[in-house]
Amino acid sequence: MSNGSANFDSKLIMRQISTLYELALSVGNSLDTKENCAAFFKTLMSRKGFGFAAVWVYNRYLPGSEDSDGATLVYAMPEYHIAADKLPLSHPIFACNNGMSISSADPFFTHYITEKNITKGTIIIIPLGHLGIVKLFSISENYVFDQIESRQLNGIFSKFAISLEGCFNHQRLAIEIEDRKKVECELNKAHNDLEQRVEERTHELSVLNQKLTAQIEQNYKTEAALRQQNDYLSHLHTTTLGLMNQLDVKDLLKSITASAGQLVGTDHGFIYLLNNETGIFERKLGLGIFSNDIGRQIPKEQGLTGLVYLQQSPVVVDDYSIFSNAILPPSMRAKLGALMEIPLKGKDGVIGTIGLAFTEKTRKYTAAEVELVSRFAELASIALVNAKLHTAVQEELQERIKIQRRLEYVSLHDALTGLYNRHYFEQALQQLQDPCYAPVGIIVCDVDGLKVINDSLGHDNGDLLLKAVASLLSKTLTTPNIVARIGGDEFAVILPNTTKPGVEFLVGVIGNSITDYNTSHPEFPIYLSAGCAVSTTTLPNIMDVFKEADNNMYREKLQRNNSVHGSLVQALTKALEARDFITQGHAERMQNIVERLARKLGISEYGIGQLKLFTQFHDIGKISISDLILFKAGPLTQDERLEMQRHSELGFRIAQSIPEIHHIADFILKHHEWWNGQGYPLGLKGEEIPLECRIVALADAYDAMTNNRPYRKALTKEQAVAELLTFKNIQFDPVLVDLFIEALDEDQEEHH
């Protein structure tokens, strides 16, 4: 223990130096702060007898401290006394720049106590250079920390401060190294992870690469297959489009065969089409070695084609030359190698086949080729059906056009004469209203007595008359003139750009033509009334022109009416005589006896005249009776008889249409009625029957009986009279029978 006084005791000095030496050597024994402090303070406390030691370091020198303003307890021995490990720099213990010691006897002692369980003793505070302070505690209140001891320890604490700073630096370095190690560790880990990932990734990529390589190879193969398939399909598409556009069946068949051949690379092919009605396949087309073998026919269930028909699917023969069911001739067979035949199908089954052949013996069909051609054949079938359908439609269309044209023709033409009809005529009138056609001439013609002809000679004859008129007009008045039949017996002609003289000239030409015709056809002369008109500035309306022409025609018709009708009666009489050649003179003979009887009956002269006219035309209806019945040699059948009996009514209608005999039409109708009511057509009896009819019936029967007929000879007068008497009260008026017999007798007497 130092006592602070001058002392030159060498032993004491040696002891002090030795202790300092020991303390000095205890400094800096470790770069770890706590170990360094522990070594130093254990020695210090042991040798100096301190009960507590603490090292406070300003935070600004402390490694890793965040609070730079305070101080931190970095070491304390024993820890039992530790109360706080952080203090502000404002604490009194940090204000002792040169160190101090304070005893618990000092009232400010507690100001320097930052520990627990220290109440008594001495606190010594020694600065640690700029780093902080060392706080020591001795249990002794009388501990004297004198100047010599302070100086002795200053050097030691300076060294300790330096060693502590070294520890801090080491700690910083350690922290940094640790941080760096961590970073390095993290980097290593990251590196290892990366390497592992790279390795894994490399492995994955390697595996992927292998997969990709395999995939690429597969893709190449697939692509090649697809390209080939695409080529096929493209070809198929192009070909099919070409086929679909072909509607001519023959051209189509050629295209189908050629295209199918191109799909598999052969020029040799053929097409069979099935005739469903005959059940025969007929080769419609051949290409290559089949080009000269067209028209070959095969029953539908024979040969390779028959197999295709029965299976309704493609049949492939690898070598047709040794095919057992071959039906081709040996010379053809020998040339063939593989042959494929594919069905062409319609909605109801096989409609034909496509055959494709190789002449190279080594060339075989692949499944893909068969499939391809099969698909092609499906499309070709559609094209073929379409083409057939198209042909049928075209034919139907043509037929419809014909019908349309016919309808148009019919709608604009007269069916009988072939001339334009009234509808067209009226349209033409409207069209020719255009001034460019002016002047327009119109001729209106009317066939006189057509009704009489129709009624007396039948409509056939009437129609012949009309056709004759039409022919005559159309020949005379050619295009651009428009000739039309505008009514039953009316014709009209439109003459565009024709002046009035021109029209009148043409009317004259028509008249001449009729004259010529009547000369060559006296039995059916044409009587034509014609009127014409021409458009002028005062008569610009074409309808007005037509009306004027029509008026002119009627005017002409009135002027020539009597003569026409007279001519007509003559013509009818001639016609009646022509048809009554067997009874030629029959009417004239009857007129005599009838006149005699009429006189006996006291009938007036006018009445006798009418009766004679009636006698002449009583059978006028027979001109409408078929010659087969009229001139039949044998007895008439029931139907023929009924037909013959129709002449009464026919005569009635003819007479009604002819003014000259119109008034005797009723007599003509009833001249075959019987007294007892059993006659025809009305079944009148007794005096219901007009007297004129009863008279003519007697005369007609008598004359008929007394003249030859094809089926019998003529009766004698007596025989005839006997017959008359027999049918007295039956067929004939009994009074008149008697008077008639008298008249016959009187007539006979006069002639004799």
């Binding site: 020991e22 050597l25 254990k42 007898g49 009960g51 024993p78 820890e79 002794s140």
Partner: protein, 374 residues
């Protein structure tokens, strides 16, 4: 309460303890090295009786003014719970957490009673750790167990077993006064232990330790110091570690190894400034008398519970029959009633003492007297 058993057989010990009024106090069993019982069997027997105990065997026992090299002392002390076992003190021992046990009691511990394997290395580190943990909150008293043969073996025990390289510690609820003195005087120094290895001094003043020691002893004693007669001479010339505020700490060299290094009881830190000491029976006895007197003084106004003496076995070997003088001096100072059996303690392999006045040290060739009081 304290009983000496001449016969340390297990039934006697167990029966004696069973018959004692122990209340909740722990039984301290101090065995003499000679004729000691099978400690494992003793532990098993005591455990059967559910006796809370700790103890050790020592080179000798002190009981009622006499030293014994056989027998057993049964001591009942007011302890706080079971003893803590601190093993591996020769390497890097870890102190247990004392707080969970101490929190079970209403009062703070006042004294720590420590028995330790006296031949274990790392004693200084152990005591530094204990002091670091507890500081001056308690007084420390204890000593080193083991055999005088210097052959290390399991020597401290608790109900958990008998251990080597181990300390057992129990906290006492009574206050104490502890003081240590040795009476040895420096004859040479300072001298620096420039190279040491735990308790082995390799070099002194950068020279062969044995050679230096030999020079000093031969010069002072006039005797020839050899390895063979080493202890006979060396026991009179221990080393003293210089302390400025308190008495020098004695380190006794007990042997010379093959490398001419001095083997001591207790750690000698490297670069320790030491002196070579020399004592006489009278100086030693005088020191003990002073300590006993101080203890007596400390008990003024207090109710003594038990006095304990930890005296280094080497002192008894040095003093021989003069030991009774020391013990008599103690008895003279600390006997308060006619029935007091004073002193009671052990002849130990090193001593432990601290009286709230500084660093806890492992002592040699020293007498530690502690008086427990309420």
């Amino acid at each position: 309460m304290c009983i000496y058993l001449e016969s340390a057989d297990i039934p006697t010990i167990v029966n004696t303890i069973r018959d004692l009024d122990r209340q909740n106090n722990m039984v301290i069993i101090l065995l003499a090295e000679k004729e000691r019982p099978d400690i494992s069997a003793l532990i098993a027997s005591l455990n059967k009786e559910a006796i809370n105990f700790m103890g050790g065997f020592f080179p000798g026992l002190i009981y009622d003014n006499s030293a014994y090299d056989k027998g057993a002392i049964i001591l009942i002390l007011p302890t706080m719970g079971s003893p803590f076992v601190i093993g591996n003190i020769d390497t890097a021992c870890q102190l247990p957490d004392f707080n969970p046990l101490l929190k079970q009691f209403d009062t703070d511990p006042k004294t720590a009673f420590i028995l330790v394997d006296g031949l274990a290395a790392g004693m200084a580190e152990l005591l530094a750790k204990i002091y670091h943990r507890l500081g001056n909150s308690v007084n420390y008293i204890g000593g080193g167990a083991g055999s005088l043969t210097m052959q290390q073996s399991p020597c401290v025990f608790t109900p958990e077993g008998c251990f080597m390289n181990t300390a057992v510690l129990v906290f006492l609820t009574c206050e104490s006064y502890v003081e240590a003195k040795h009476g040895w005087q420096p004859i040479m120094g300072p001298i620096v232990a420039t190279k040491t290895r735990h308790n082995v001094i390799c070099e002194l003043n950068w020279q062969n330790a044995f050679a230096i020691y030999q020079q000093v002893l031969e010069a002072d004693s006039g005797l020839k110091l050899t390895k063979n007669n080493f202890y006979d001479t060396a026991k009179s010339y221990p080393f003293g570690i210089v302390k400025e505020q308190t008495e020098t700490i004695v380190r006794e060299a007990v042997a010379v190894n093959d490398d001419d290094e001095l083997v001591c009881i207790g750690t000698v830190p490297e670069n320790t400034v030491m002196e070579i000491l020399k004592g006489t029976p009278s100086s030693l006895t005088a020191s003990v008398t002073e300590v006993a007197r101080n203890c007596k003084t400390s008990l003024i106004g207090k109710k003594p519970v038990q006095s304990l003496v930890v005296e280094c076995i080497s002192r008894s070997l040095f003093l021989k029959d003069k030991l009774s003088d020391e013990l008599g001096a103690i008895k003279a100072e600390l006997t308060f009633t006619p029935n007091d059996k004073v002193p009671v303690g052990i002849l130990s392999l090193g001593e432990i003492a601290s009286a709230k006045d500084g660093f806890l040290e492992f002592l040699n060739k020293t007498v530690v007297i502690g008086v427990l009081y309420e």
